[in-house]
Amino acid sequence: KQKINQSAFSISSSSSSLSHSHSQAKNMTQVTMEEVWKEINLASLHQHRQLNIDHEPMLRNQNPYNSIFQDFLNMPLNQQQPPPSTSSFPLPPPATVLTLNPHSIHTQFEESAKFGCFGKKRSQDSDESRGDRRHKRMIKNRESAARSRARKQECAYTNELELEIAHLQKENARLKKQEEQLKMAEATQHQTKKTLQRSWTAPF
C-alpha cells in the first residue's frame, strides 16, 4: 500500500506539472509529452496488476492510453483491497487524487457508491423481510388508494351541492314567475270587478 501511495504522489506531482505545462503545450515538443505519458503508463501498469481487476467496471475504451489513464484515475478509489465476496463501498478519494479530470472521478465514485448500496440490500434479503416489505408496501398502497377515493368524493359532494343550488335557483325563478303571473291575473280581475257594471236592469 505504501508503495502505491508513494507512486501516486510522484505521479500526481508530475501530472500537475503536466496540467501546468498544458498551457505551454504549444511550446513543448511532442517528444516531451510522450515521455511523460510513458512514465504514467509504466507506473499505472505496475499498480494495475496489484489491484483487483473485478472492481473496475467501466473501462471499456478502445483507446489503450485512455483505458490505462482511467485505471490510473480509479486507483485512489480502490486503494484498499476489497473483499472478494461483496462489492465494496469505496473510501472517499484521498487528497492525492488527481484533479486533471475531476468529473470522471466523481461519476465513478457515484457509480461505485450505487453499486455498493445495491449490494447491501441484497445481503439483507431473506424470505421474511421480503414478505414484510411487500406487506408494508401493500398497506401504503391501500392508504393511498383510500386517499384518492376520498379526494374524488370531496369534489363530488361539492359538485352535488352546486348542482342542487343551480336546480333550486331555477325552481325558485320559475315559482316566482308563476306567482307574478297569478298576481297579475288576479289584479286585472280585481280591476274589472271594481268598476260598476250593470248586470241586471230592473224592469221599472
Partner: protein, 174 residues
C-alpha cells in the same frame, strides 16, 4: 345533514387535524378570483400570496383566530412532520377579515414536493383579545393543542384545499 358526507370528514381533516364540530360562522377564502371550496385542487403558483379571508359573525366585539396548516408533511404517506404551520392570524373582529387581525406567523405559501397535500384553514372564536405567542418553528404544529392552550374551544368554521407540486399528475387515474 349526515356528518359522514361532510367533506371535512370525507377528506379526513376530521379527525386528522380537528375534532368534529358544527359550522357557525361563515368563512370565505379567496385566492385571486378563485374561492376555496373543500377539496379544490390548487397548485403552488396559485397560492403564492396570502388569500383574502372574510369571516361572518355579527358582534364586532368577538375576535377570531385563523390557523392554516398542512397535515401531510413531508408527504401524505409519511406525514411525520405533521402539521406544518403556514399562517396564524389572531384578533380578527367578526364580519371583517385577516387584514384587520394580528399576523402572528406570516403567510408562507405551500410548496409540496411529494404527494397531494391537504391545506386546512380553521377559524376559532377567542374568549377575548389575547396574546398569542408565536411557536418556535412551523413544523410539528398541533392545532388541537394550540386550541387547548389558548382556550379556543371547537372550531367555528374550516375549509381545506388539495395542493400538489406544479408538475403533479393530479393523482391516480379514475
Amino acid at each position: 345533514m349526515s356528518h359522514a358526507r361532510d367533506p371535512l370528514v370525507v377528506g379526513r381533516v376530521v379527525p386528522d387535524v380537528l375534532e368534529l364540530f358544527t359550522r357557525s360562522i361563515s368563512l370565505r377564502v379567496t385566492y385571486g378570483q378563485r374561492e376555496v371550496t373543500n377539496g379544490l385542487d390548487l397548485r403552488p403558483s396559485q397560492v403564492l400570496n396570502k388569500p383574502r379571508v372574510d369571516i361572518g359573525g355579527e358582534d364586532l366585539r368577538n375576535f377570531y383566530t385563523l390557523v392554516m396548516v398542512d397535515p401531510d408533511v413531508p408527504s401524505p404517506s409519511n406525514p411525520h412532520l405533521r402539521e406544518y404551520l403556514h399562517w396564524l392570524v389572531t384578533d380578527i373582529p367578526a364580519t371583517t377579515g385577516t387584514n384587520f387581525g394580528n399576523e402572528i406567523v406570516s403567510y408562507e405559501s405551500p410548496r409540496p414536493t411529494s404527494g397531494i397535500h391537504r391545506i386546512v384553514l380553521v377559524l376559532f372564536r377567542q374568549l377575548g383579545r389575547q396574546t398569542v405567542y408565536e411557536p418556535g418553528w412551523r413544523q410539528n404544529f398541533n392545532t388541537r393543542e394550540f386550541a387547548a392552550i389558548y382556550n379556543l374551544g371547537l372550531p367555528v368554521a374550516a375549509v381545506f384545499f388539495n395542493c400538489q407540486r406544479e408538475s403533479g399528475c393530479g393523482g391516480r387515474r379514475s
